[in-house]
Point group: C2
């Protein structure tokens, strides 16, 4: 009878994704312990939101995962700074078995990953900023990680949910590269918001009443956009995802603003103060994008907002493109994402992965699947 190995988990961020993750983690922990041959015991030793945190009294006395919320609410401890959290986790009975789950989109926390990794603490995260900001941060993270060029005693870095939420995108790129395939191009609809907007604005074969501004307002009211839709329409989210994919495929993209990204925000509305003012002002610019739509319609095509990584040329591009309705990108529905991988092995037709690429449950699933993989490696 072998003893299950203890894995010590610290969770940063308890918003929508964080809550869903902790709920899935609790269920996983129960399944592990009720297995006839339990191999892993999960100990929650830290949970934090922006204003406060809760620490386990001791490593052998972890926070019950089922009551993390009560524990956190009744705490008056401020969150630990990342270096202090790294020191705390490095004192775990098996320091190589500590894992930080960063559910935030905080760039300061992302910049601290090398500290965790170099102390043998693994990091699992959907935080795009860690992988799409300056190239130096990317290099520092992978130089410090055991699954980069760091020593075998370092922590592992896993970030499936940074692109496509729970869809197996990062793992597929890694498998292609590690098995020696040559990726030539990656393209797709990388944003659920942009997918929803253009699938509504220009559905296949379907006439559509509303102008673009009406679609934007509707999407915002349904919660598909950020409160200020400019945070979606500037294209930066798609540019960040392209940056992550490009770097994984070996293209050393300097930053998400180092290549052409088509913003759908009219110049005149770039500096209005609120999202409300923006939505109110947008109708006067409907004619511009309507003209582009009509041009596509004349060719029998549909408009989609896509990200492209041309690996061969070492270039990225983000913006509107026209697609034939029979093209998988043209035929996308709802708010689905789609990713097409053109490679040496998948040459005549690409490897395609499609599905919901946003939402708390599927994002948490991507994080948890990574966590399970890291547990296997520890």
């Amino acid at each position: 009878m072998s003893v299950p190995k203890n894995v010590y988990v610290a969770v940063i961020g308890t918003g929508g994704v964080g809550k869903a993750f902790l709920s899935q983690l609790e269920a996983l922990s129960h399944r592990y312990l009720s297995s006839p041959t339990p191999k892993t015991r999960i100990s929650l030793v830290y949970a934090a939101r922006s204003s406060k945190a809760v620490l386990a009294n001791a490593y052998h006395d972890p926070i019950p995962i089922s009551s993390w919320s009560d524990s956190l609410n009744s705490s008056s401890t401020p969150p630990l700074e990342p270096p202090a959290l790294a020191d705390f986790l490095a004192k775990a009975p098996a320091p190589g078995r500590a894992v930080v789950i960063d559910n935030t989109s905080n760039e300061d926390i992302a910049r601290s990953y090398p500290i965790f990794l170099s102390k043998g603490v693994s990091v699992v995260t959907p935080n795009k900023k860690a992988f799409s900001s300056d190239l130096d941060l990317w290099k520092a993270i992978f130089a410090a990680a055991a699954n980069g060029s760091g020593p075998a005693t370092a922590g592992y870095i896993y970030h499936e949910a940074s692109v496509g939420a729970g869809l197996p995108i990062i793992s597929t790129v890694k498998d292609l590269i590690e098995t020696g395939d040559i990726i030539t191009r990656i393209e797709g609809v990388l944003s659920g918001t942009m997918s929803f907007l253009f699938n509504s604005f220009m559905p296949i074969g379907g006439a559509n009443g509303g102008g673009f501004s009406a679609e934007v307002r509707n999407a915002r009211d349904l919660g598909y956009t950020e409160p200020d839709p400019r945070d979606d329409l500037n294209g930066l989210d798609v540019a960040r995802k392209c940056t992550v994919l490009a770097r994984l495929a070996g293209v050393p993209v300097a930053s998400p603003t180092s290549f052409p990204v088509q913003s759908l925000i009219p110049k005149e509305l770039e500096n209005v103060k609120t999202g409300e003012e923006f939505v109110d002002g947008l109708p006067q610019f409907d004619a511009q994008i309507e003209a582009v739509k009509q041009e596509a319609a004349k060719e029998g095509k549909v408009l989609r907002y896509v990200g492209t990584v041309d690996v061969t040329k070492g270039e990225c591009e983000v913006g509107l493109r026209k697609f034939d309705p029979s093209h998988p990108i043209g035929g996308l529905k709802g708010s689905d994402n789609i990713f097409s991988f053109y490679t040496k092995r998948y040459e005549t037709s690409p490897l395609v992965i499609q599905g919901s690429g946003a939402g708390a449950e599927v994002t948490a699933m991507g994080i948890l699947a990574d966590f399970i993989k890291v547990c296997g490696l520890l």
Copy 2:
């Protein structure tokens, strides 16, 4: 400076897939060793085809991967029986770091997996027969594996390439299940041969000159079918893949013949002696399937040969179904496979994976990606 861990590899089967695998393994081995921080050293200690085998002189003196073919050709040793091979590998300096790659579709070898696993030897394979024959074999394999209910000292079993070749199908099903999602239905075009046949016989919008028999002859001449096309048209290959997927999703399917499978072989041609006779006799039955095609055409639909696992009902079914051209299955092209996963989390629209699901290079890639994962766990 840490010392790279040695992983000892035994390869069974050196046909198309085996050759491609060994070539990819050689390249991987070079990449590992030329890394600034090499973590794994791959030692090929055994290679076998049906008639002969070559063993390493000693564990510290492995077979050079680049010249496996010469070594095997000049050998006069017969292949080891699986139990003898398991004993040989259990004598490796680190017996828990030996991996058998079974590139065959041999059922006897599949039946020996529990022997390898229980001795701490891992198994990576595209061999469908191991996972789609009687349910007792499935249970025995996972009861013996470390990633089943076996002890932590047992070997790992990985079989991504048993369904969809290099497409991330098995790993996606596992991630869904392990993170607590509930799969309700899996459906798709699971055979490259059937995909090619029906995409040619009834392309979207396209009229087609040839009858079904002409398409079968053409597909055989192009190498898309087995030499005797009945080995594809009986539906057993698709039924085996459904069996694997169903069992992973928790449906205890007894065997690939325990549920309805529509054979496309006319009764009268089931017992003709050769594939040639079959192809010659097929035109006289064209009217039957042509009628089904015309019926679909009247509804504006296309015919596709699909496998369905209804996880909720615990049922599988394989056969012809009609699809709207805008449905992802209807829009498939060439010889691509497509897999749609309907789950609690991917409820409104499924998680879809599409691409080439057959061929030596992509099958070898699926095996090698598994091998890399197993190396990480050892």
